[in-house]
């Protein structure tokens, strides 16, 4: 995973609630095992709505997505994160995230930011005012967003998530440090609840 320290880019206002992964990564765009993830992002909306924010010339090179409540609801499809990265969107600032989508972000070095409500309102206003004319910078080390229209805005990410993104840690590697504990759990369970440690077909 690519480590995350700081990301500068055009902030795109998509200020709607409950944007779901069917919109972000339509199934029709996932018909190939390795689809074009850049083209897949909001594919249907981009093709059908000329005024859609990502179609507007000032937002053609996005870097940060700004959204409403419950971003990434619905299906667990990770293509909805890969599509962001393929478009160089490495930060999403939303009022809140759907649980599985947020996990998928952390797995891929896509920074999910939730601001305190007054800050979110102020930031959204500044993003609308900037209208793609100047970029914002999101710094994970100082946990600040800087950019046109006002002072830096502080955000908080749990220390553990911050470390994982910042160091680009291999999640599986991190867990495999606990291999001995996994083995001893399995041994313990094999005698305490043996039915959990076997899943054999009784007919064979």
């Amino acid at each position: 995973m690519q480590p995350f320290t700081r990301h500068t880019g055009i902030a795109v206002p998509l200020l709607k609630d409950d944007i779901n992964t069917d919109q972000i990564a339509p199934v029709l765009a996932m018909r190939a095992l390795k689809p074009d993830y850049k083209a897949l992002l909001f594919m249907r909306t981009r093709s059908e709505e000329p005024d859609f924010v990502l179609n507007q010339p000032q937002f053609r090179e996005p870097g940060i997505l700004v959204a409403g409540q419950n971003f990434g609801a619905g299906s667990s499809r990770e293509a909805a994160v890969w599509g962001m990265l393929a478009n160089n969107i490495r930060v999403i600032v939303a009022r809140s995230f759907a649980d599985i989508y947020r996990e998928n972000c952390l797995q891929n070095g896509l920074l999910p930011v939730v601001l305190a409500p007054p800050d979110a309102e102020a930031f959204e206003a500044r993003v609308l005012a900037a209208n793609g004319a100047a970029p914002f910078t999101v710094d994970l080390v100082t946990q600040r967003i800087s950019g046109p229209g006002g002072p830096d805005i502080a955000f908080e990410l749990p220390a553990a998530d911050r470390m994982r993104l910042h160091e680009g840690l291999d999640d599986i590697g991190l867990t495999l440090k606990h291999r001995d504990e996994i083995v001893s759990w399995e041994q313990r369970m094999a005698s305490a609840q043996p039915w959990l440690q076997t899943a054999a077909d009784n007919r064979t």
Binding site: D18, N20, P26, G74, S96, I100, T175, L196
Partner: protein, 469 residues
Amino acid sequence: MPQTLFDKIWDAHLVAKRADGRDLIYIDRHVLHELHAPHAFEQLQKQERPVRRPDLTFSMQDHTVATAPGRTDDTNPSGAAFLKAMREGSKRNGIKVFDLGDPEQGISHVVAPELGMVLPGATHAVPDSHASTVGGLGALAFGCGTSELAHILATQVMALKRPKRMRIRLDGRLAPHVTAKDVALRIIAELGVAGARGHVVEYAGSAVRDMPIEQRMTLCNLNIEMGGRSGFVAPDDSAFGWIAGRPYAPQGEMWDRALAHWRTLASDDAATFDREHTLDCSALEPQITWGTDPSQVLGISGRVPDPAGVEAGRRAAAESALAYMGLTPGMTLAGLKVDRVFIGSCTNSRLPDLQAAAAVVRGRRVADGVVAMVVPGSSTVKREAEAAGLDRVFRDAGFFWGESGCSMCAGGNGDRGEPGERCVSTTNRNFEHRQGAKVRTHLVSPETAAATAVTGRIADVRQLLSGHS
């Protein structure tokens, strides 16, 4: 200290705390499907990491499989590569595949319980947001993405933050022809599409206790539609009886030991929940979605809301939903002409769902101009339905009777509606374009879907059956 059942299962599966503070939770059963697993197999191959417990892992071909009789890999051309990659990745890693043509192939959330892979108090993971379907048997199940799926394959644990606890108490008794689907839609309407975010939901109360296991699965299946991390019903004698004798369930002395443990699986009386919600089910009528998210729900006798009366934050969404759905405020949905009816998906494709729909269809015909489909949730369900003659009921009425798979739920297999069609569906998501470009989806129970198919108009199944349609 009194504990919730969720806490008991979580603590029993806690392997270690990771350096970043996450809990490593052991996954007892891991069920994969071909839309996402191939990418995880490829990742592990690149990293030269083996699958830790192929014996606790099962592969299902469900999302991209065609439903046409005599189907092959190529019947849905875009599915072939997924099916092949799934087959090869599973074989390479020693994982059993329920492949096309296997007599037990089907939707992961239907097959795993019916084969007895799902056990009370066990943990499950599926790379699919509807993983918690199996919570109907008292299992704790998590949906996950592709990277997490690779993580589970390599380690057999998930690295999770402990969710909060929520209890939804369903009191009263369901009226005839009112089902778990109707209950779930009403709950989502009350709590909203993000109402259970960050929470594991325990469904309790007399209405849940009265539900057969398949209904409990429907209830738990829709938990994600209000953002819940997982959802389950504490297991009881109906659950134990349902599991007994299934092929992958424990047998003999092991069964006795398991059963003794399962009988301890309940929240303590004094346990506290972070949130509680109660719904009296007695007065509930069949429910139907009017909008483009699963919280935009009406009773079948209700009227489409006026966005002006909707809370400010939801008003724009309501306006846009009405425009997409081609509806006007104040109208009733009952009586509205439909083009398509779909009965199937992990939400409502088990044998009792098909029996309930067939009971409505029997002796009637699909209305002219309506395309109606039934897609059983598994090849086992299909076989059992055929043995009971249900396929004849549906076919004689003019329904398409398909091979099992996810089909029109997400359209990943090419089963889709045509632009502008109004589709009444027993699935779980009425999102714009999900069942095909510009398709207008209304989510309902199997009985409401069946009544709608035979009248050609959105129907109150109670009126149809009492002769007042």
